[in-house]
């Protein structure tokens, strides 16, 4: 009786350890998102469903996966979040939409965001982000919408952004950006609206 009890407990423990181990080495994307959650303040418990013990994050609210259970969308805009972004965001290799606008997130954009080769939309507008716009964002060659407006970004606009040929909408307005406004590559299509309310060098009055 004691033996079977003992055996039972040991096997249960072993099983639980095995399950726990599986979680740890299981889903890198879930881990990345959980690292983000750990670094954010969430007074409205918007990220309450983010349970790292699940096999993947595809059932978490505000997370959308593709048919292969890879994270494709992150929709946590208008969520009252604070805290900072994490470099682990770069692990979401199939992410297409990163929507974190209208929060109180501070700190900088991690350079690792430049690893998100399938990103179509990067919406971090209306937050308290600061620091430079990383030049690694120039590697996002499927990006269509880049909206970083209404933050506290400083430094120059990276020239690498002009190599993103798919860029349809650019909004860097209402920041503390300085230096010249690029006018080549995809930036030929952008007008003063995209750069308004920054201490940038003015565009020439009659373009030459």
């Amino acid at each position: 009786m004691l033996f079977t009890n003992c055996f039972f407990h040991i096997s249960m423990l072993t099983f639980q350890l095995w399950v726990a181990f599986r979680q740890v080495s299981g889903n890198a994307e879930g881990d990345a998102l959980y690292a983000l959650k750990s670094n954010l303040g969430d007074p409205y418990n918007v990220l309450q469903s983010w349970d790292p013990t699940l096999v993947n994050p595809c059932t978490w609210y505000h997370v959308t996966c593709n048919f292969e259970n890879q994270v494709a969308r992150l929709d946590i805009g208008d969520a009252g979040l604070s805290g900072q972004l994490v470099p682990q965001l770069g692990e979401l290799r199939h992410l297409q939409y990163l929507e974190m606008y209208n929060n109180s997130i501070s700190g900088g954009i991690p350079r690792e965001v430049g690893k998100l080769k399938k990103l179509v939309s990067l919406d971090l507008y209306v937050n308290r982000l600061s620091g430079p716009i990383p030049d690694t964002l120039g590697r996002l060659h499927t990006l269509r919408f880049l909206r970083l407006n209404n933050n506290n970004f400083s430094g120059h606009i990276p020239m690498s952004l002009t190599t993103i040929n798919t860029l349809q909408l650019l909004d860097l307005s209402n920041n503390q950006l300085t230096g010249p406004i690029p006018v080549n590559g995809s930036f030929k299509y952008f007008t003063p609206i995209s750069f308004a309310n920054n201490p940038l060098d003015p565009l020439p009055a009659s373009p030459t």
Binding site: L169, K188, S206
Partner: protein
């Protein structure tokens, strides 16, 4: 050239007030939508067509509560382009191509200072190309092909430094192609014959030189020489024949004379 631009600025109306609602209300009044393709374009929606980046109107794309792109291509639309479009001041791209729009291109479009793409191709627009379009300094694309536009190509459009697509083919434009568009230099994008062809009265580089009606100089010279040679040949032949004939006659005459004269 800067004087011409200054003249445009002075003659033009004041810049339009930002007012997407005014813009859209007037646009639906001037347009005719027989196939009811603009279904959710109702007056109540015009008051707030955008909520942030969401648009409630088919063909309109929004950012920060303002319309920045209007794409109403291939919707069998008729009627005219309203000058009040100028109140959609955040507009960066306007595409009304492949419809049956008529009437002129309103010069009020000069107030769309953020316009980068203008596509009005494949319609029945008439009247001139407004030189005021040159005040939309960020224009990259002007596509007006396959319309009934008349008059000259305004040389002021050559001032647009970002212009990389310019197509006015298949219209009724006339006069010389301005060098500022037909023969651009420096870093400016160049346009070839495909941008200008299909306009009967239009001429100048890069269109090939006009063929003169009637015969060309080569043809005239050729005909002259040819007929000269031919007449020379004919007269030569005539002389030969005459000589032969007269030889025979004199031969016959000679025989008779020989008959008469005794042999020595």
């Amino acid at each position: 050239m800067p004087a011409a631009l200054l003249l445009l600025l002075l003659s033009g109306a004041a810049a339009a007030d930002p007012d997407d609602e005014l813009c859209l209300t007037h646009l639906t009044q001037s347009l005719d939508d027989p196939l009811k393709n603009l279904q959710n374009w109702t007056k109540s929606t015009f008051a707030a067509p955008c909520q942030g980046s969401t648009s409630f109107l088919l063909g309109a794309t929004c950012n920060n509560g303002r319309i920045y792109r209007l794409s109403l291509s291939n919707l069998s639309l008729k009627g005219a382009i309203s000058p009040y479009l100028s109140n959609c001041t955040n507009l960066q791209s306007l595409d009304l191509s492949s419809n049956a729009l008529s009437g002129p291109i309103p010069p009020e479009l000069q107030s769309l200072v953020n316009l980068a793409v203008l596509n009005l191709s494949a319609n029945a627009l008439s009247g001139p190309i407004p030189p005021q379009l040159a005040l939309c300094a960020y224009l990259n694309v002007i596509d007006l092909h396959d319309n009934k536009l008349s008059g000259p190509i305004p040389q002021q459009l050559g001032l647009l430094a970002r212009l990389s697509v310019f197509d006015v083919s298949n219209n009724r434009l006339s006069g010389p192609i301005p060098a500022s568009l037909g023969n651009r230099s420096g870093n400016l994008a160049r346009f070839n014959t495909s941008s200008f062809e299909g306009n009967k009265g239009l001429y100048g580089y890069p269109l090939p030189p006009m063929k003169s009606s009637g015969l060309s100089i080569v043809a005239i010279v050729g005909i002259g020489l040819g007929s000269g040679l031919l007449s020379l040949l004919l007269s030569f032949t005539a002389v030969c024949v005459w000589l032969r004939v007269s030889e025979r006659r004199s031969e016959n005459g000679e025989v008779k004379i020989n008959h008469l004269m005794p042999d020595y």
